[in-house]
């Protein structure tokens, strides 16, 4: 497929608009205000005063996320958004297939943010009519049912969908007309693989398993994880010594958090471009991270967790 014709100057308005909107993002000071609120409800009230909509926490977070997708779409970031919407398609698929296999109603878990409308996916899964779905999804569904019939393992179903998800992301990345976003998406894939590598080793799985669950398309090839899978448990820093991610292993803080922070640093470095689609992507990830931080604050505050403990979990 030929790449769409791309002119960086077409995004001048979008970048200027986002530059203005960036001021509304809750950075360290804004998050501190939420953290110092007397309760989760007080924090939610504060969010309402700065324009967040919705009755309860979940509604507020969902509404912000939907607003973010609409904004980036309206500013011409549709091609980029495809890479970010895919995860919702696969989430919906997982919900629908698991609902069918366990005879539950998972409609309340469906998220209408994917590339394919939630109704279309629902109809396709229920009526086995996959015409409107992508080839990746079609083959993943067939493989998932086959695998489930053989070994009745929900995790195997998820792994098949995760593999297809990354394949589809990589396909969309190829279509992106510029170079900075693919670099960041490759980094996201690496981060996913590193987290998975660490988790799988902790779970005590076999090397064959890591081969199935790592994603292609990152800067670090999948073979790296397979080769180093049997390295001693306390040697993670040594394993990643010659990769760009070595610095996160030398830090004391939570590894997932450090990796997320490292990604956000890269995103923030991208935000200052004046032209092109990359600042849109940077804004998208920054806002997504803000939503995640707000979720952490609201949920932890609601559970009475100390300010210090919450602060140590915030990303970016």
């Amino acid at each position: 497929m030929a790449k769409t014709k791309y002119k960086e100057l077409d995004y001048t308005y979008a970048v200027a608009r986002l530059r203005a909107l960036e001021n509304n993002l809750l950075e360290a000071n804004g998050l501190e205000k939420l953290l110092s609120a007397a309760s989760a409800d007080e924090a939610a009230k504060h969010l309402q005063t700065i324009g967040w909509k919705g009755g309860n926490f979940e509604e507020m977070l969902q509404s912000e996320l939907e607003g973010l997708f609409s904004l980036i779409e309206s500013l011409g970031g549709g091609e980029f958004l495809k890479t970010q919407r895919v995860k919702y398609d696969y989430h919906n698929l997982k919900v629908l297939i698991k609902s069918e296999l366990t005879k539950q109603n998972g409609d309340n878990l469906i998220m209408n943010l994917g590339n394919i409308g939630a109704d279309i996916i629902k109809n396709a899964v229920i009526n086995r009519d996959y015409r409107l779905l992508s080839e990746d999804i079609k083959s993943a569904i067939a493989l998932a049912y086959e695998q489930y019939a053989r070994i009745s393992d929900a995790q195997a179903v998820d792994i098949i969908f995760d593999g297809a998800l990354f394949h589809e992301i990589n396909e969309y990345v190829k279509e992106l007309p510029e170079e900075k976003i693919p670099v960041l998406i490759k980094m996201q894939i690496d981060i996913h693989n590193i987290k998975t590598f660490i988790r799988v080793r902790k779970m005590g799985k076999s090397v064959g398993f890591i081969e199935k669950v790592t994603a292609a398309g990152g800067n670090i090839p999948r073979e790296f994880y397979i080769e180093n899978f049997n390295a001693p448990d306390n040697q993670d820093a040594g394993v990643f010594e010659h990769t760009p991610y070595r610095k996160v292993f030398s830090q004391d803080e939570n590894l997932e958090l450090s990796l997320d922070n490292m990604f956000m640093e890269e995103v923030k470095a991208t935000r200052f471009g004046a032209f092109g689609i990359a600042p849109l992507a940077a804004y998208f990830w920054m806002k997504e991270n803000e939503i995640r931080n707000v979720r952490i604050i609201l949920i932890c505050k609601n559970a009475g967790i100390s300010e210090e403990a919450i602060r140590s979990r915030l990303r970016g």
Partner: protein, 212 residues
């Protein structure tokens, strides 16, 4: 009053004496049972307390991990990840006899080979930790349920035995003793009145003989 209905006969006295002996023996046996039940109960309660404290603190840690996982992941993704569990445990309920109280014994057959029912994209290590810890907690949760139920059943049995001991000690045995005393007194009185009557008859006969 119970004494009012007593038939003051020697047969009744013998019957009541036998019942008193049986009641005293029963009282001693029940007292011994109560003491042993108390001993067993205290042992179960002690174990239960230690187990509950350990389970509660570990559950707290699980909930903390779970809370962090739910803060990092969206509600929908978290619920989707956990909607199809693959960890299965079969619980076999047997019983054990403690001083004639049948207390439950839970035996589990777990398939611990694989706990995680979700993929790795969109899920977090905190979720792995909470699932792992929760599954590690299951045997202790079942043991706790076993101990709590045993403590409840033993407590009910102790209460029943205590009532029986008290009934024997403060009602039945004193009643038997009173009845026996009453019959004895009545029989003695009858004996005395017969003796008096005989003495009177003798006197009358002597007087009649003298008059002749």
């Amino acid at each position: 009053m119970a004494i009012a209905n007593v038939n003051p006969t020697r047969m009744e006295l013998t019957r009541l004496k036998k019942r008193l002996v049986t009641a005293r023996r029963g009282h001693k046996l029940l007292k011994d049972k109560r003491d042993e039940l108390m001993k067993q109960f205290l042992e179960v309660v002690r174990e239960n307390k230690a187990l509950r404290e350990s389970v509660e603190s570990r559950l707290g840690e699980v909930y903390d991990n779970f809370l962090i996982a739910s803060a990092i992941m969206s509600r929908q993704v978290l619920e989707q990840s956990l909607m199809f569990p693959k960890y299965r445990a079969e619980v076999d309920i047997k019983t054990k006899n403690i001083m004639s109280v049948n207390v439950p014994v839970f035996e589990t057959d777990e398939n611990k080979s694989d706990l995680y029912s979700y993929g790795f994209y969109g899920t977090s290590q905190e979720l792995d930790t909470s699932v792992n810890r929760l599954s590690g907690l299951l045997p202790d949760l079942l043991r706790l349920a076993e101990k709590e139920k045993s403590a409840q059943l033993l407590a009910v049995e102790i209460e029943k035995t205590r009532r029986r001991v008290n009934a024997l000690e403060y009602v039945m045995i004193p009643q038997f003793e009173d009845k026996i005393k009453f019959i004895k007194m009545k029989l003695d009185e009858n004996e005395r009145s017969s003796t008096i009557r005989l003495m009177k008859v003798k006197d009358m006969m002597i007087q009649e003989a003298r008059a002749k």
